[in-house]
Subunit: 204 residues, 2 copies
């Protein structure tokens, strides 16, 4: 694709580096910015640069944060005996949006994936183990890792690492039929697990 | 959606103003930028601001340009007797990519659309008429406006405005079955026009 302007071409190239944005979409975005007030473009650029330079990672749970320790970790109303292990910041946001969880988090920053060269040392596993030392307040670790092969491997690895912690309860988010899901269209593994791990009626 | 950081929230809000970008996509883009080198974010922001502040519109054809007069208008190899009228800058890029057109352009900046409050005076129609004054080099005006109701209205309006220009040939891009298109799946209007406006065999 040839562009009538080097400036547009540069902008399109940079935009097209974003995930899921091809050259045509990038051009549409660039022309949209050109059509609107320049103030809009400045605000967008400023918010991105500000985010990139100023966002911190919570030194306790590795969630993103505006402060050294994030709002969840520093909230005295959160249950410090419950620790939810997730792979990604997006999982924290998803779980927070359910309003069903009042404990703390630990963001691993990915899952173990030998194919992509991600080993346990690339994840925030050491700091997780530190948070679970015998004198820790944590009584339960809830594994909320996506049930992919890499996710299951990671959860299994962590469970092995934690097996000596006698008083620590390790739980996993429930697997089963999604609310609103149709039984007949559910894959066999999920349906099978939903039967094996059936719950007392009225519990959910 | 609640965010663990005001900085992220701002960035997501700004990104979500882009066309076709919802909050979830915006969050994915923001987290992608956070994961990558900060240099990438700076380059993106800089290219957008630079584009927005420095891109000019060609004072002759209203195409985007890095200079006062765009590269097409100032190119001595282009055929100055042929003028292609398009509604949008993207149409110029699309036509340029075909390598089939060697004339000049005139970008209207939209189409007449009473529903959206766009009248002839909101478009670059006066400057088009100026380019077509009797002493003009232009011998043919090629209407390359999308065949929507608004597009057809605009083309019709322009044709009426130009009917006194006795020596000016007014043409339109051909309507017909797209190359690779299936006859049986083509809508009746297109198929009908492709028959009425049939061309001598071997011309296309």
């Amino acid at each position: 694709m040839e562009f009538p302007s080097k400036l547009i071409e540069n902008a399109v190239e940079e935009l097209a580096k974003l995930p899921g944005v091809g050259k045509k979409t990038a051009l549409r975005l660039a022309l949209h910015l050109l059509k609107n007030e320049s103030e809009d473009t400045f605000l967008l650029a400023e918010s991105l640069v500000k985010m990139r330079t100023e966002v911190k990672h919570c030194k306790q749970c590795h969630n993103i944060s505006d402060t050294e320790v994030c709002g969840i970790c520093s909230n005295p109303l959160r249950d410090k005996s419950l620790l939810c292990v997730v792979s990604d910041i997006r999982d924290v946001i998803a779980i927070e949006n359910t309003s069903q969880y009042k404990g703390l988090y630990h963001v691993l920053g990915g899952v173990i994936s030998p194919l992509e060269g991600v080993g346990p040392s690339d994840l925030h596993i050491d700091s997780l183990l530190e948070r679970l030392l015998p004198n820790s307040e944590v009584k339960e670790v809830l594994m909320a890792i996506s049930p992919t092969m890499e996710g299951d491997t990671t959860a299994f690895y962590l469970t092995r690492k934690l097996r000596d912690h006698q008083n620590l309860k390790i739980t996993s988010i429930a697997r089963g039929i999604p609310v609103g899901g149709e039984l007949e269209y559910t894959d066999e593994i999920t349906l099978g697990r939903s039967i094996v791990e059936r719950t007392a009626y009225g519990r959910a």
